[in-house]
């Protein structure tokens, strides 16, 4: 089960609202490589995992990603607080505003709603963990692109830098997890069976 902790993993305190920036950062809330998909991917994949290291790692990284979802939501919320209509008119945030006002909604930066079709849970140990390596890279590059657009507001970029670095650490751990899984599999041909299904 999960227990809520009434604090963020990392401080979020954004002095200057910027709805235009919020309209791209929302992609890391509910976009194709965002934190919602990340947490659901790992927390779903873990059920089929046959080995304790993999069950633990997917649970622990999936849980951390829920904390990142909350941080990205806090960033979007603070970037869109105390807005007047004149702050919104004629900006890229106007399209989001008309549907969601200043509510936080899981969608791509392009407006497409969050979709489970952006993630997989294959029930295959090597395929899932390899997807997870790619997922961490895709999230990392999305944060790179957000840094390109965020320019120089450190209230925002400090948070994005932190989240981006977590993707790199998670990539490392998933890579190690594949190695640990391989050590338990057929040493001549790890594709001979899927240990999550072929008992």
């Amino acid at each position: 089960m999960f227990v809520y902790e009434k604090k963020l993993q990392y401080p979020v305190r954004i002095q200057n609202p910027d709805p235009k920036l919020a309209s791209v950062i929302i992609s890391q809330y509910g976009g194709p490589d965002g934190e919602l998909g990340a947490s659901l991917r790992y927390l779903s994949q873990r059920f089929a995992m046959p080995y304790p290291e993999l069950k633990a790692l997917l649970t622990d990284i999936g849980t951390e990603e829920l904390g990142h979802l909350e941080m990205v939501g806090a960033v979007v919320h603070q970037l869109t607080r105390n807005l007047k209509v004149s702050d919104i008119e004629g900006t890229p945030f106007a399209a989001y505003f008309v549907d969601h006002t200043a509510g936080v909604y899981p969608q791509f930066a392009s407006g497409y709603p969050w979709s489970a079709s952006t993630m997989q849970s294959t029930g295959d140990v090597i395929a899932d963990l390899t997807e997870d390596l790619a997922a961490e890279q895709k999230a990392r590059l999305t944060y790179d692109n957000i840094l390109r657009l965020a320019k120089d507001d450190p209230d925002v970029t400090d948070v994005i830098r932190f989240l981006r670095e977590r993707e790199i650490v998670h990539f490392q751990r998933f890579g190690e997890a594949i190695e640990l899984a391989k050590q338990r599999m057929d040493q001549k041909n790890i594709y001979f069976t899927n240990p999550a299904f072929d008992k």
Binding site: V3, Y4, E5, K6, K7, L8, Q9, Y10, P11, V12, R13, I14, E53, A56, L57, D60, I61, E64, E70, G73, A74, H77, Q78, R81, I126, T130, L133, Y143, D144, L147, R148, P154, T157, D158, I160, R161, F162, L163, R164, E165, R166, I168, V169, H170, F171, Q172, R173, F174, G175, E176, A177, I178, E179, L180, K182, Q187, N189, I190, Y191
Partner: protein, 157 residues
Amino acid sequence: MFPKPDKPGEDMNAMPCGDASGVLPSCAPLAVPYVPFQQMGSQKYDHGEALENGTLFPGLNLPFKLKAKAANIPMTPLTELQALEFVLVELGLYLDTHQDDAQAMELYRQYAALEKEGRARYESLYGPVTQTATAQSKTWAWLKDPWPWNYQEGGDK
């Protein structure tokens, strides 16, 4: 800016490669992905630097050119608690794939003790972090603003 816990002596003999490198099998089966295994005894930041960099491990700190410098996070009872908990999260993931690293396990124990103290200190000043901790309050302080996503005028506690 953050007090450092006692660290166990780091055994450099456990590291055949440099700190920013890892180990790979010398002969490796084809057609499978490889990420080098992080070595035991890797260098570590203190908990404040770890939170500021997004990792406990200097060898894994690989920023993007547009934001290479780490954050500078002012120390408050909240950021102190966040930093201590962050080390536990980071070491927890490390131990998931390095369960035989006794030094890392010992460091986890030390940080868990510091985190317990930090949490008690924070809760005595600002109220419960978990709903069950509200049992220590005279009234149902769980409701008290601000919630974590709210912007705080004048800075976080």
